[in-house]
């Protein structure tokens, strides 16, 4: 008889009992994991990474790699310093690194992503408790910081052809280039953009869609970003609600604000809206966990983006809108708690 219990004398049974694991139900877990989710996001970003190198050259790759490496480095260092377990193996720092680089122009100096990563990881992420506890999207906060500190570096966009040294983004053209008087600008960023924009022409919609137009290295290829987004939605890593509500409400709000319909596709497909809506507004830590809350969050970001673009001094507006909405998350969640099954009101 090879049955342990049947043949085991008393002493052995006791041993068996000490070996049995006793724990709370459930006794099985899904095969989802934090790593798997983060890995999926990285996989989703790969097409856009390849695209950025294709369109903007080897400097794009350099920026991305420096950004990833410095994000991981700062995460490890600060966790060591705080005497916390080092969690770079959860891959989340890699994503932050990629997204910071994606928000840079191809001409950015090599140290810019390092400054961005340091700020994103140390100040925005780890000071607030690390993964899942930060209340602002680290990559976006870093972008805002870089834009304020080094406006010229952050807004000198190169075109996708090697012969073009500096070029205006479609949004800058729409904002500054198309108006006869070229409104006086208060910031260096808008000044740079405005100078570049004067006399420039809008790219064709096709070029805009595939990403062959000036802009931050990771934001231009709508096609490649959408391929990754579709993957994330199919893998149920992100919920469609935030991006759909976000892009939809940006569109509607721009119409309400009187933007001419021929410019609407340019607004949707440039200025990092697609990148922001699918990859940054959906950041778990900084968006609502409730289903209704996600729709409200998306709508809020959309309205803000449209207002900043039409009435503000900046041509884009995606990052500030998302950052502003990040702050409202606890409030949104409070008012959008799901109705409990059988709740009597």
């Amino acid at each position: 008889m090879d049955s342990k219990v049947a043949s085991a004398p008393k002493a052995k049974e006791v041993a068996l009992e000490n070996m049995l694991l006793v724990s709370s139900s459930p006794h099985i877990r899904s095969n989802e994991s934090v790593q798997r989710i983060m890995l999926d996001v990285i996989i989703a970003l790969v097409p856009a990474i390849i695209g950025s190198v294709y369109f903007f050259g080897i400097n794009a790759l350099k920026l991305i790699l420096i950004s990833i490496a410095s994000s991981m480095f700062f995460e490890a260092i600060i966790q060591k310093a705080f005497k916390k377990p080092v969690t770079i193996d959860d891959f989340s720092a890699i994503i932050t690194g990629i997204l910071i680089a994606f928000n840079l122009p191809a001409s950015a100096p090599w140290w810019l992503p390092i400054m961005g990563s340091a700020f994103a990881i140390i100040v925005v992420k780890q000071f607030f408790g690390g993964l899942g506890s930060n209340f602002m999207n680290p990559a976006l906060a870093a972008r805002a910081m870089l834009l304020t500190s080094w406006p010229a570096h952050m807004s000198t966009f190169t075109g996708t052809r090697p012969d073009v040294v500096s070029a205006a983004t479609p949004l800058a053209i729409m904002k500054f280039g198309m108006s006869a008087d070229g409104t006086a600008s208060a910031t260096v960023e808008s000044a740079t953009s405005a100078t570049q924009a004067a006399g420039a022409e809008l790219p064709t919609l096709w070029n805009l869609f595939i990403g062959n137009n000036p802009g931050a290295i990771g934001e231009t290829s709508i096609l490649l970003l959408l391929i990754g987004a579709a993957y994330l939605i199919i893998r149920q890593v992100i919920d469609w609600k935030i991006p759909v509500a976000y892009i939809g409400s940006t569109f509607v709000m721009l119409m309400i604000l009187g933007v001419e319909s021929q410019f609407l596709p340019y607004h949707i497909m440039s200025g990092g809206l697609i990148l922001g809506a699918f990859y940054m507004a959906t950041d778990y830590a900084t968006s609502p966990v409730t289903s209704k809350g996600r729709i409200i969050f998306g709508i809020g970001a959309g309205i803000l983006t449209a207002i900043i673009r039409v009435n503000g001094g900046y041509p884009e507006g995606v990052s500030y809108s998302i950052l502003l909405m990040n702050i409202t998350v606890p409030l949104i969640e409070k008012f959008t708690a799901p109705k409990v099954f059988g709740e009597v009101k």
């Binding site: 049947a6 459930p26 006794h27 966990v289 099954f341 709740e343």
Partner: protein, 444 residues
């Protein structure tokens, strides 16, 4: 009324692992040489023993009883001699008094066991009395005495009896096999309940992963005008009684309420079959079908096991453990079952399964901080926010957990199952519930 592919909002897809046993016919277990029958294996008052050491008992003879309304008598499952009455560990946790009986192997039936006559000739009161005397309790796990469930206060108008054939727990196939092998008994049991409660509509809900059960019950009920079969989407926890009522009848049992508040009474398949046998044959609840399963056991089986049989004997009859030590032994299914310290505990009325997990399967996965993915909210069938309930509970802030309806949690485990960070969600919510209830008792 739509009766196909019904479901509820929330829930998780779990690989059901029923293939280990869902094709295996129910077999009788070997006669145990000794049984330990707990005097308290139901919700309600414990029984007092009515036998003492040295007494001779027969199969089906009452050995424990209580005067309380919410209680259920306990019967001997063997014929033989009472050895002792002693406090022992049972699979649901604390130790309780058990009647230990040594079997004489003869299986002599008690003379009280005889058919009760035709269903047409029995009044609702008589039926309830038969169910009560047979010691029938909810066999899906909660162990609530059936006769209490079937005697709702007069102001609660019941219009439908639902039979839970979802068997949504992975691995378990006892109910599935009963539906396939004894569909007539299930229909008969449903008719008994309908008559006892005074209702003329009965619906059996079955998940679509059991097409043979659906077919068998449709066939067995084809001449019954008042009985229909509803098919349910395969989703956990479809068999939770409030989710079942929502899926089939479209009614939500109010928070803190009972099924009878929305005119429904729910009974599980094993229970319904036990009720049928109690009326047809006069057989009290002294044995039940147990699915012995999992990758840690040699020959998984669906076995009819006598109440009081030690787990050890049952495991041995299934060929013992597979190579390597077992990692975890669970009474019930993997989602809500209770892990066991020992295999010396007896099978009780609520033991639907014995699941033996391998060491590999039982290995706890490392926990990560909550990443706020919101998946626990998506899957919670009660529409709670497990991440917050859990974090308040872990911080000891039970008031806020209560305000977020911690007490509505049915402990189904869907949230913990889905959480990518492997957080101890149910565990901490269960703790909060205990604290909240204890506080209420204190303040009252």
């Amino acid at each position: 009324m739509k009766l196909r592919d019904l479901t509820f909002k929330g829930g998780v897809a779990v690989s059901d692992n029923k293939g280990l046993t869902n094709h295996l016919s129910i077999e009788s277990a070997e006669e145990p040489s000794i049984v330990m029958i707990p005097l308290h294996q139901h919700t309600g008052a414990p029984c007092e023993p009515v036998v003492k050491a040295g007494d001779e008992v027969k199969v089906g003879q009452v050995i424990g009883q209580s005067q309380a309304f919410v209680s259920a008598p306990v019967h001997s499952s063997v014929s033989g001699t009472v050895k002792e009455i002693a406090s022992m560990a049972i699979p649901t946790g604390p130790t309780v008094d058990c009647v230990v009986i040594e079997s004489d192997g003869k299986n002599t039936m008690d003379k009280s066991i005889r058919p009760n006559g035709k269903l047409e000739d029995l009044s609702p009161e008589e039926l309830i009395q038969i169910i009560k005397e047979a010691g029938i309790t909810g066999m899906g796990g909660a162990g609530f005495p059936a006769h209490v469930k079937f005697s709702p206060p007069a102001e609660k108008k019941i219009d439908t009896i639902l039979i839970d054939g979802a068997e949504c727990e992975p691995y378990l196939t006892a109910d599935h096999r009963l539906m396939v092998e004894e569909p007539e008994k299930i229909i008969y049991g449903l008719k008994v309940i309908m008559k006892a409660v005074g209702v003329d509509r009965g619906i059996i809900g079955i998940e679509t992963n059991k097409p043979d059960a659906i077919k068998a019950l449709k066939e067995a009920s084809k001449d019954e005008e008042n009985i229909s079969i509803a098919t349910l989407k395969v989703k956990y926890p479809q068999g939770d009684e409030k989710r079942l009522i929502d899926a089939i009848l479209g009614r939500q049992v109010p928070s803190g309420g009972l099924p009878m508040d929305v005119g429904a009474v729910v009974s599980n398949i094993s229970t319904t079959r036990a009720i049928a046998e109690a009326v047809m044959e006069g057989k009290p609840l002294y044995e039940r079908v147990v699915t012995v399963t999992g990758r840690g056991i040699k020959n998984p089986k669906n076995l009819v096991v006598k109440i009081g049989t030690p787990f050890k004997d049952v495991i041995q009859q299934c060929g013992g453990f597979n190579e390597g030590a077992p990692g975890k032994i669970v009474m019930g299914g993997p989602m809500m079952g209770i892990s066991q310290y020992s295999i010396d505990v007896p099978v009780i009325k609520g033991t639907g399964g014995i699941l033996v997990m391998t060491e590999e399967e039982a290995k706890p996965e490392p926990m990560h901080p909550c990443i706020r993915c919101g998946k626990c909210i998506e899957v919670c069938p009660v529409h709670l926010q497990p991440l917050y309930l859990s974090s308040y509970s872990l911080k000891g802030d039970f008031d806020r957990a209560e305000a977020l309806h911690a007490l509505d949690c049915v402990e189904c485990g869907a949230c913990s199952f889905q959480c990518p960070s492997k957080r101890p969600l149910v565990e901490s919510i269960r703790l909060a519930k205990r604290e909240i209830i204890a506080n209420r008792k204190k303040t009252n």
